[in-house]
């Protein structure tokens, strides 16, 4: 056991002397977190809409004044008014508006009588998010109109008081572009990107340890180690332990610094520590597995970068997953980055406690499976 710690200690001492490793493990994640956090998370989305009310009826007025004029919509969009559908199209085509709503003549009467009608939404192809938000606002209003009609019919049938038109305008929850958990606390940029960057860079931090055996081989020290009374397994576990410690410290430093300097909130420290340990184990297992498949340090660096960036992209390290298509969000949950990041953000907004155990189990299972692959192939690192 003591030999294991001697190997790990020597590895840590060398990593501390390696400035590039320190930059990757500590400086880069903090710097990137700070830079990304400069963009306020809450105002990450803002659009410009125009509306052409060709109807000027009771319902179209409700839509223009109460829906588009609501504080929630005004917070994320500027609303302008035009006279006709042609004028609306010109505004969108010219790029002066991201999308346009057109309420055709007779809209209110047709809607109230149950005849077929609808709000036309003109969108710009290069503004997909703004288009999606506009469509959601339009379809949300239509759905509430349907509900209003059904409620009115029911009131008429039962002789009770009919609902007011205001109820058709209430609620615009379709534009939740800012991730918001069940805990009710809003996520800030630092809350999201601090763990995102910590997870992304932990792959590089632990990767230096995995590559060290390749380095030892190229500088000849591996031969000297193998000539010593040290088993191959002790050597491997000693190196892996050092990798794990570097990853753990890297994440802890990012957590501490982002909390102190950027105001990031991390939530329950015990749960956070559990996630850190789990995700560091996964990163250690993955980078060690990569090292068993390559023959040079350069190859190890290239493949580790490829895997880290790939998992980072899929797992939401570079953009909020809430803005991603649903398919990508589902894919993210299959990656260790996605699981860990969702866990961290849930903890940050005091939510997802029940789901955390599941995420930890998933992460530990990934670490065990990938770690088993690394272990069965690890003799190649020492003997070849």
């Amino acid at each position: 056991m003591s030999s294991l710690f001697i190997v790990a200690g020597n590895e840590l001492r060398q990593r501390l002397r390696d400035r590039s490793a320190l930059i990757v493990a500590f400086v880069a994640p903090l710097t990137l977190t700070a830079l990304i956090s400069l963009v306020p998370f809450e105002s990450g989305f803002h659009a410009s809409f125009v509306v052409a009310d060709e109807d000027a009826g009771i319902l179209s007025t409700v839509f223009v004044d109460d829906v588009l004029g609501s504080a929630e919509i005004r917070e994320v969009a500027d609303i302008g008014e035009v006279d006709s559908i042609d004028a609306a199209r010109r505004e969108v085509d010219a790029g002066r508006a991201d999308a346009a709503f057109v309420l055709p003549a007779g809209f209110s009467d047709d809607a109230l009588s149950g005849a077929g009608t609808g709000i036309t939404v003109v969108v710009k192809s290069d503004k997909p998010i703004a288009g999606a938000v506009a469509r959601s606002i339009g379809s949300g209003f239509s759905a509430r109109l349907d509900a209003y009609r059904i409620a009115s019919q029911a009131a008429e049938d039962t002789g009770s008081a009919p609902p007011t038109l205001d109820s058709a305008a209430s609620g615009t929850g379709v534009i939740d572009v800012v991730p918001q958990g069940a805990g009710g606390r809003e996520l800030t940029s630092a809350d999201y990107f601090a763990p995102a960057m910590a997870i992304f860079f932990v792959f590089f931090a632990v990767g230096t340890g995995a590559r060290s055996l390749l380095t030892e081989r190229s500088n000849g020290t591996l031969t000297r180690l193998r000539a010593s009374p040290l088993s191959a397994r002790t050597l491997l576990f000693g190196k892996a332990l050092a990798s794990f410690v570097i990853g753990l410290v890297s994440m802890l430093v990012v957590i501490g610094a982002s909390a102190l300097l950027l105001g990031a909130r991390w939530g329950d420290p015990v749960a956070v520590l559990g996630l850190i340990v789990a995700v560091t184990l996964v990163a250690t297992a993955i980078t060690w597995t990569i090292a068993t498949f390559v023959t040079t340090e350069e190859q190890a660096v290239a493949f580790t970068s490829l895997v880290a960036v790939g998992l980072g992209l899929l797992g939401g390290s570079f953009f909020p997953l809430a803005l991603a298509p649903e398919r990508l969000q589902r894919l993210a949950s299959l990656t260790p980055n996605g699981q860990a990041l969702q866990g961290f953000t849930d903890l940050s907004i005091d939510a997802g406690g029940a789901a955390l155990t599941g995420r930890l189990v998933v992460l530990v299972c990934i670490a065990l499976v990938v770690g088993a692959v690394a272990l069965t192939r690890s003799h190649r690192l020492v003997e070849r």
């Binding site: 001492r13 002397r17 000539a227």
Partner: protein, 321 residues
């Protein structure tokens, strides 16, 4: 072979890499306190052999025992009896000499005051005490070589295995290394030393095994080996200008067994193989005169390990001069 005197016994070592046989049934032993040299050209199988001795390489056949304990690539404990000096410098460049030695010492179970004393001792032996706190990356090549050896001596091994430790080393450091090895041997450490420099084997080793193509082709003390070619001496003759008939005249002279000619822009050199060189000098001089050649240099080449190797294999020990 006296079992109680033998420290290392290698029997029938075999190792192939694909179709290429690197070591084909090599056997030798190293007695306690002995300096044993494995001499052979590059690619003869010396490094492969000591890699099997140190448990670094899985062998295809044969056995290695050290103090009666078997050694293979899975061995752990008995490796503590060996001090291995790799051919290339094997140290951590970002650590200081003292940090390197502390790490390797701990791997062999040294700690505390004992470790400190041993580090001080080997630094003294390597003449690096004053530079002990400098990073190895800042050392000269010779200093790195000396520290490379010092790292193998920390745990006072019974057997010190050195794999061509003087390759690429300046003459001063080379001398220092050879003297250090000799001093260690005199203090009781057994030595297994590989080299392709015959002068080193001749100067340092009590017994020499000459290997070629993974096979032991001769073994014994220096005198024993040279005795193999005692009846074959060489006379080296250098002339100022080429004498076309000289080679024929020398070959026809009684007592001359072979003549090798080497002619270039600078000199005309002839290597004359004879039985007793000193007795044949007059004959060679007369042949040169008869051929009209002016002798610039004439010398008797005493038999050495190079001659032994040439005699046994028909090829030179070294590629370079």
């Amino acid at each position: 072979m006296h079992a109680d005197r033998e420290l290392l016994v290698c029997d029938g070592l075999r190792k192939s890499f694909g179709a290429r046989v690197a070591v084909g049934g090599l056997s030798f032993h190293v007695a306690r306190g002995e300096r044993y040299g494995l001499l052979g050209p590059n690619g003869a199988g010396k490094t492969t052999t000591i890699s099997m001795v140190c448990g670094l390489l899985r062998r295809d056949g044969g056995s290695v025992t050290l103090e009666g304990r078997a050694i293979d690539e899975r061995t752990v404990g008995p490796k503590a009896l060996i001090g291995y000096v790799p051919q290339e410098v094997a140290l951590y460049p970002t650590l200081t000499a003292r940090e390197n030695l502390a790490f390797f010492g701990r791997l062999y179970g040294l700690s505390g005051g004992v470790l400190t004393k041993r580090i001080d001792a080997v630094l003294e032996l390597a003449d690096l005490t004053d530079r002990a706190r400098e990073h190895v990356a800042d050392y000269s090549g010779g200093m790195q070589r000396r520290l490379n050896i010092a790292a193998a001596l920390l745990h006072e091994p019974r057997l010190l295995v050195l794999d061509e430790p003087t390759v690429g080393v300046d003459p001063q450091s080379r001398n220092a290394i050879l003297e250090t090895v000799r001093a260690l041997s005199e203090a009781g450490t057994s030595i297994l030393y590989t080299t392709h420099y015959m002068e080193e084997a001749q100067r340092l080793c009590n017994r020499i095994g000459i290997v070629d193509d993974g096979r032991m082709i001769a073994e014994g003390g220096y005198e024993d080996l040279v005795g193999l070619v005692q009846q074959e001496s060489h006379i080296r003759l250098v002339t100022d200008v080429a004498a076309p008939t000289l080679v024929g005249a020398l070959r026809d002279a009684p007592g001359v067994r072979a003549v090798t000619e080497s002619v270039d822009d600078v000199a005309n050199e002839y290597d004359v193989l004879v039985g007793d060189a000193r007795a044949m000098l007059q004959t060679v001089i007369a042949a040169a005169n008869d051929a009209g050649a002016t002798i610039a240099k004439l010398e008797v080449v005493e038999p050495d390990l190079e001659a032994v190797f040439l005699h046994l294999t028909g090829k030179a020990l070294r590629d370079e001069p």
